[in-house]
Subunit: 640 residues, 2 copies
């Protein structure tokens, strides 16, 4: 029986203990975790198998299973036995060790200011207050870093022609639903799909490890994978792969606690978040981050300037390269997979924001702007970018070049401040690539629909096809409380145009910190946007889920329709509000139209009637219509 989640609190998740996986799986009836093994030892790629009753003919069929991309990690594997706070198995440890280019070292000592300058006594008090004492202490590993003179990034290996286990893992994962996949069982209409319009993306019928390597080598895709995050199940971000989504979590000084953030992580990946950013800014942020990374099968991103600012008591003017550098090392040793770095906020661009309706809305951007002005010096993230890259390549941390001057209002879209920064991000992209550092580019923000494609095209051109990673964009400012919708519109469009990852926006955007329900709503809205984008690009295999679900819908397989959907419990709940009886799950109607008016029921009868009466259409007429339809289809060319 599927669970309703609308009243869930993080304590419900934290309290499950060893029952966590069965609790989480209860949201996905008829689903179970399956793995495909790769050639490299330890490459076991997870998928969610959904059993369906599909058998239009009444016979057993070869498509009784649907396979979904699975971001939820060991949490939905009953055999893994993980719970909140237990940490995950370091599946990549062996791969990293075998490359022989890293070494363990003592690491940087943890200082009180890493957790916000609280004394040891204060810290214990805060942990107690937050209920974190219930979490077992994680065994501390020695951090790894590159041996002297070595570069340990996936980009470095790719350029050298090496296919890493991470690349093989990703290839199997992305191949799902395509012709080369061992999980693709069937043929026929259920397996066909529309031609897409890919806007220059290259979408092969089969994803091979070699294709992954080439994409990484070219900089068109990244595999964020810090060597200190061995728990990671590798994933890839690039426009020739499935469009990904990111969920932001993290406490703020006003609200939320430590175990709450881990519960949010598990919750976000359960519903489909591909990466998670920890944007914590309150107390205990080092501890929270440690727990999040040790608990995460997906890449974790951060914005290190947030913590650096905490270390100087929240006063941007007091930031320095030394404090920032120290923070990078601290987080690198913990295993953060990508850093947002606002190195493109240059002193000379700041005055462009003065005439904006909403000035600077990026937190990182505003911090750096204030620093630049206070010191009348160039942004130290820009001037020290080479040193930053030297650190990143020693841990394989990807850089997500932050758009500190992104527009925060429709009025400010695509203006000089935003575009100037974008050109600088292009310059920094080249520099990072020289260091073999993996790069993606962050994008806006608030953009009306007619200006979205310009954003994508400028990014591709000026950042040399490095993956684009946008926040939304929101297509109007007038609906606070519904910005998951204003932005899902823009996200779907920019995903179609070539954006590689979409940062979710929750209903609480602009208003407050999201709770569990907001996190879920944001993730589902963005799964919709990303999937709509994959469909529109003509991503091979993307339409399979639509086809399976629509088949179930048409054949009144209500359980299948729920189970194949992004959110089975909600679909079931909505259906059951009016028709709770078990028999209604086999009924050939729903409460929307009632039994007499169901068009699909009538259509069933129409089709039976047509068959019985050997009703066919005049062949010549059909032929003529086909021609006409094709002629009209050519009109589509106005797009290109």
């Amino acid at each position: 029986m599927a669970q309703n989640s609308s009243r869930l609190t993080y304590l419900d998740i934290v309290s499950k203990g060893k029952e966590l996986s069965s609790f989480l799986l209860s949201f996905f009836p008829n689903s179970k975790k399956v793995y495909i093994q790769g050639e490299n030892r330890g490459v076991n790629v997870p998928f969610r198998q959904i059993k369906v009753a599909h058998n239009g003919s009444g016979e057993a069929t070869d498509h009784s299973f649907f396979y979904a991309y699975d971001t939820s990690g060991p949490y939905t594997d009953p055999f893994a036995g993980v719970e909140i706070g237990s940490g995950l198995f370091p599946l990549r440890a062996e791969w990293i060790e075998q490359r022989g280019d890293c070494e363990p070292y003592e690491g940087r000592p943890i200082k009180p200011e890493d957790n916000g300058w609280v004394s040891v006594k204060d810290k214990a008090a805060i942990l107690l207050k937050n209920g974190a004492q219930k979490l077992p202490l994680l065994k501390k590993r020695l951090p790894l870093r590159a041996k002297a003179g070595r570069r340990v990034t996936q980009l470095h290996y790719a350029k050298k022609g090496i296919i890493t286990p991470e690349m093989e893992f990703v290839a199997i994962r992305e191949n799902l639903g395509r012709k080369g996949s061992s999980l693709r069982q069937g043929k026929g209409p259920l397996y066909s799909q529309h031609s897409g319009l890919a806007w220059g993306a290259s979408l092969p019928e089969e994803i091979t490890p070699e294709f992954v390597r080439k994409e990484v080598a070219s900089g068109r895709a990244i595999i964020p994978s810090n060597i200190n995050h061995p728990e990671l199940e590798p994933m890839i971000i690039g426009r020739n792969f499935r469009v990904k989504i990111n969920a932001n979590i993290g406490n703020s000084a006003i609200s939320s606690s430590m175990d709450e953030e881990v519960a949010k992580l598990v919750w976000a990946i359960l519903w489909g978040a591909d990466t998670v950013m920890d944007l914590s800014t309150g107390k205990n942020i080092h501890e929270i981050r440690e727990l999040i990374i040790r608990s995460s099968p997906v890449p974790i991103g951060t914005v290190p300037i947030y913590q650096a600012l905490e270390k100087v008591g929240g006063i941007p003017e007091e930031l320095s390269w030394e404090i920032y550098r120290d923070t990078l090392i601290e987080q690198a040793e913990q295993g953060v997979d990508y850093f947002t770095i606002h190195a493109g906020v240059l002193l000379r661009y700041i005055p462009y924001t003065a005439n904006r309706l909403c000035g600077i809305v990026s937190r990182g951007g505003s911090i750096m702007a204030k620093w630049c002005l206070a010191h009348h010096q160039e942004n130290f993230l820009y001037t020290h970018f080479d040193e930053i890259c030297e650190i990143l390549r020693s841990y394989d941390i990807s850089v997500s070049l932050g758009d500190g001057l992104r527009p925060g209002a429709i009025a400010d879209a695509n203006d000089a401040a935003q575009l100037s920064e974008l050109f600088t991000l292009g310059e920094l992209t080249k520099k990072a690539w020289e260091h073999d550092v993996q790069v993606m580019i962050e994008g806006p923000g608030h953009i009306p629909m007619q200006l979205i494609k310009e954003n994508m095209d400028l990014e591709l051109k000026h950042c040399f096809e490095a993956p684009f990673y946008t926040l939304g964009p929101l297509t109007t400012d007038i609906a606070p409380g519904y910005d998951h919708i204003t932005s899902a519109i823009g996200a779907a469009m920019i995903g179609w145009f070539g954006c590689a990852m979409l940062c979710y926006v929750t209903p609480k955007e602009h208003l407050g910190l999201p709770n569990l329900e907001d996190v879920k709503t944001g993730v589902i809205a963005y799964k919709i946007a990303a999937h709509a984008a994959d469909l529109a690009k003509g991503f091979p295999g993307a339409q399979l889920q639509d086809n399976f679900l629509s088949y179930a819908r048409f054949h009144f397989q209500w359980e299948d329709q729920f189970n194949l959907s992004l959110d089975p419990p909600t679909a079931r709940l909505f259906h059951d509000e009016n028709l709770p009886q078990p028999a209604a799950k086999h009924a050939h109607f729903c409460s929307m139209c009632g039994p007499k008016f169901c068009s699909m029921k009538i259509t069933e009868e129409v089709l039976k009637y047509a068959e019985k009466n050997k009703l066919t259409t005049d062949d010549a007429f059909l032929e003529g219509m086909k021609e006409k339809a094709e002629e009209f289809r050519k009109i589509k060319n106005i797009y290109i």
Copy 2:
């Protein structure tokens, strides 16, 4: 104090009695109803005035009010004194009478089968059960129809060069926010907006009554306005006007009652529905419709075949032209403003649906398909279309040519069945225009993003720019429970491309009958889509609301931010979840980032600092950037 609505039931609305307007206005703090008078007697066009605290300079300003398009009718006018069931003032009665081309007549007697074949005794029992006995009986007016040989449609008048009071009403209404509007008070950055990309729409800076007349005369726009619906506040549907949205209400045999449907009507127009379709199919549908129309300031649409089918006990084969014709007259006399008529479902197109994944999903389409096959005759709606038009022109009922063969799954999009029907709808458009009947064209449905523009372009070409009215389209099938989002994406896009009205989809689509909260969610999602489309087209004045709201956001005018939004209580509720204290409404931060990290607060400081230190940018550099930005902007031309 704004009201939260999530637990509201229709009884809360019905029970308000004379307090209804203050209850409804409580959802929109600082708002009040204002009217602009036209030159024609009785032309009083309603707007919602929102008082805002905007005064960046600290001084009194000329933009202390924002004006919003107002669909809520007299229900939000405390001086109108209306309540559920009281009916509305017939503001158009005088206009209609003065044209001198109509006459009252006895009208068709109401038969038991009009309410679903219930006996008089049964009927009373059902009314009692539904609580309808609480509603006062409406005074029965004699119906009007055109005098012999006269055509009483807005299209007829427009072609004759006559500007009706309805056209003047619409012109004032649509002129809101434009240069010619008396409600546009200010100048400066708050009043500027981006250039749009209008895809061939013609969007003048000022909407005059003559412009409205020309658009109606050309068939590019319609003003649905049955002469038997004098309570109507006229509105216009056409791609050179604001994009409109429709909300469906109506009971089904499974669920919901009479006063519930009127409560849904009031609720839908409160949040912004421009028209409402009554899709009732259960018992008492004549009575429900009567109450809805008498209670509605917005055009009411229906699908008469639904009621006709009730009259033959739900058996499509037993339908006949005579029963259908009788139903048209019945509903015409009640005042329905537009009829969905599935006259394009031709016998020879039906076999095209046999190979679809989801067959026929339109209720009307499946009914007519079954009739055609059972009789092996051409659709009687097609063969009797001239007679239908003769009825419509005698009452000024617009025809909404139904897309009975629209796709119900991504897999079935833009196929031969759908496009064949579209071409037939074009043929019927011309025929209706010959009768001076106003026409719009219904569209799909389920369409992946890359095929949306083709739909719009084919409609414009083959239906001669008659207004397009689409259901969504849904851009993926995989998210039942979230189809307001899957479809808001497609709706925003097709609205941008030229669609004139968007039929909302609620979260319950495919699963059940929407409740009040679903209706609201559907309306808000579609207000977002329609507004995003207006912005993208560059609709004059559309960006004003975004600018006002973003200005309030940047200046931490929390109350203004809530009040200018589409749903003030929800925005406030989300904010207050973490910061309920009154002082937080003036705080320069929210719980999302906390006090130290608010980027907008830091930006305030940046701007102050820059000003204090006379920080300017090198002029030559600025000039160069401007040129570069303009050069990049030219890339947009790839669209055209």
